[in-house]
């Protein structure tokens, strides 16, 4: 027992040592999975963290959940992609100072033999209509993410209410959905960044429809309103927003490549 007591004591001491936290400030940011999974944040955050002697804590979830976390005041800044929801977030007083950061686009991917023939479609809505008409398997994110919201807009534009065994609501992130679409040889809507990361080794699905205006995918960053939540680190959040949208951050975003291809694009000023 004596030995055990001594061991317990040393374990406790060890734990206390391990958890001794440094004094640096922590900025909490909720964001969409694509910014993290693309690897962009790994290069975008360190210069800011060094300069301001802080850590940016990234909570990567879907856009819908990111905004909800921001509404509750559990983060200081949100970095998402669903313009309408972002505007609502600001209009409802939860966020301030929304800024455009970057963009890429959505693509419709599917099996190379394209059973629904969507490569011939003129618009994304028409492509979805063809998939529904053929009842070809379509995997939906089904998780209120930015991509899911865009997908719902497209179904609405197509005048189709997707329903039936062919329409699979996964309720998961972009990566798992691409994996599922690959396994089931179905179609899905994906952001180009995540698709590029999967292309080749992880999926044999191909881009079958792209390049339409309606598939534009803009990312915005918003500070959580300090008038709503007095505890948020507003000053640091604003510094971060200035950094991401300023010359240094924009340069990093524009130069970031995956498999030799750019993932995100910045707005020409």
């Amino acid at each position: 027992m004596k030995l055990m007591n001594r061991l317990l004591l040393s374990i406790t001491a060890l734990l206390v040592l391990c958890t001794a936290v440094s004094a640096e400030e922590r900025l909490k940011m909720s964001t969409t999975t694509s910014t993290q999974d693309s690897g962009l944040l790994k290069v975008l955050l360190p210069p800011f963290e060094q300069k301001n002697n802080c850590k940016v804590d990234v909570i990567a979830v879907g856009t819908g959940q990111s905004l909800k976390i921001g509404e509750a005041g559990d983060v200081d800044v949100v970095f998402v992609h669903a313009r309408k929801l972002e505007d609502k977030f600001v209009a409802d007083g939860f966020g301030v100072n929304r800024k455009d950061v970057m963009y890429n686009d959505f693509v419709v991917i599917g099996p190379k033999n394209d059973p629904a023939g969507i490569a011939k479609a003129k618009t994304a809505a028409e492509a979805l209509k063809m998939i529904a008409a053929k009842a070809s398997t379509f995997i939906s994110r089904g998780d209120k993410s930015g991509t899911h919201i865009k997908e719902k807009e497209l179904w609405q534009a197509a005048g189709v209410e997707p329903k039936g065994a062919w329409y699979v609501e996964a309720g998961q992130g972009m990566g798992p959905v691409i994996t599922m679409a690959t396994e089931r040889q179905g179609y899905t809507l994906a952001d180009r960044g995540t698709y590029n990361a999967f292309k080749g080794a992880k999926t044999d699905l191909a881009i079958l429809f792209q390049g339409e205006k309606g598939l534009f995918n803009p990312y915005g960053i918003i500070a959580v309103n300090p008038k709503k939540h007095a505890h948020v680190k507003y000053d640091l959040a604003m510094k971060f927003i200035d950094y991401v949208t300023g010359p240094e951050g924009q340069k990093i975003i524009a130069e970031y490549k995956q498999h030799g291809e750019p993932v995100f694009f910045i707005y020409k000023k």
């Binding site: 055990m4 374990i11 734990l15 990234v58």
Partner: protein
């Protein structure tokens, strides 16, 4: 088969290179799990002892409740604690959400019923004469219970090991309350979930192998303690 060999090689490479992300995830996993195990032991073992040595009306109900709590899904515990420590919740002012402390709270809640239950089982299986004997030999009630606990150290150690196993292996609480923040609240399990999501199956499995190695080392250590 390629998949498994690739995972195995990836695991070895990660260990050999002391990959900072892996080192950090292993550290967070161990530190958070040990804290949770410690707190859960402080609450669960006395609760199990108390339930084991006392007789009161409704004891069977209490035991049934305890058994049911063992089936608590991790996401339910996560959600429950989330609602309390979110800024919108009663303890929101402490700013605990998405910190290692939040994970410790959730995992402690998760491990307490298991530890209490294992302790209770140990007491049920013990020689019923221990306490009466100690009492006749002149020990006070407190010292008698202490004697019982010493006699039952194997069973109680099993409770600690089971509790530790539950918390180091779980992903629901860690993901929901920790937020999988790189270098801060990312554990082995949340890293595995994330890599799987990214389609990095071999890397995910490699991390799983490392996690099992870590668990093996911790259990060897506990086993060594048990032999004492």
């Amino acid at each position: 088969m390629d998949f498994f060999t690739e995972s195995f090689h990836t695991a070895l490479d990660l260990i050999a290179a002391r990959d900072p992300d892996v080192v950090s995830a292993v550290t967070v996993s161990i530190v958070v799990s040990l804290w949770s195990t410690l707190f859960a032991a402080l609450a669960g073992i006395p609760a199990g002892v108390a339930l084991g040595v006392s007789e009161f009306p409704g004891k069977r109900w209490a035991v049934t409740l305890l058994n049911t709590l063992m089936a608590l899904p991790t996401v339910v515990v996560g959600l429950f604690v989330y609602s309390i420590i979110s800024r919108q919740g009663p303890l929101g002012g402490m700013g605990l959400l998405f910190t290692p402390s939040a994970m410790v709270i959730g995992q402690t809640v998760l491990a307490v019923p298991i530890m209490a239950n294992f302790t209770l089982s140990a007491i049920k299986g013990a020689d019923p004469r221990i306490i009466p004997t100690a009492l006749t030999l002149g020990a006070g009630p407190f010292a008698s219970v202490r004697r019982l606990v010493i006699e039952l150290r194997f069973g109680i150690m099993a409770a600690v090991i089971a509790g530790f196993g539950r918390v180091i292996a779980e992903v629901g609480v860690a993901m929901m309350l920790g937020g999988n923040i790189r270098g801060y609240t990312r554990t082995m399990t949340t890293a595995i979930a994330m890599e799987t999501g990214k389609g990095e199956f071999a890397l995910g499995l490699a991390l799983g192998l490392i996690l099992m190695t870590v668990a093996l080392i911790v259990n060897l250590f506990l086993n060594f303690l048990q032999q004492r």
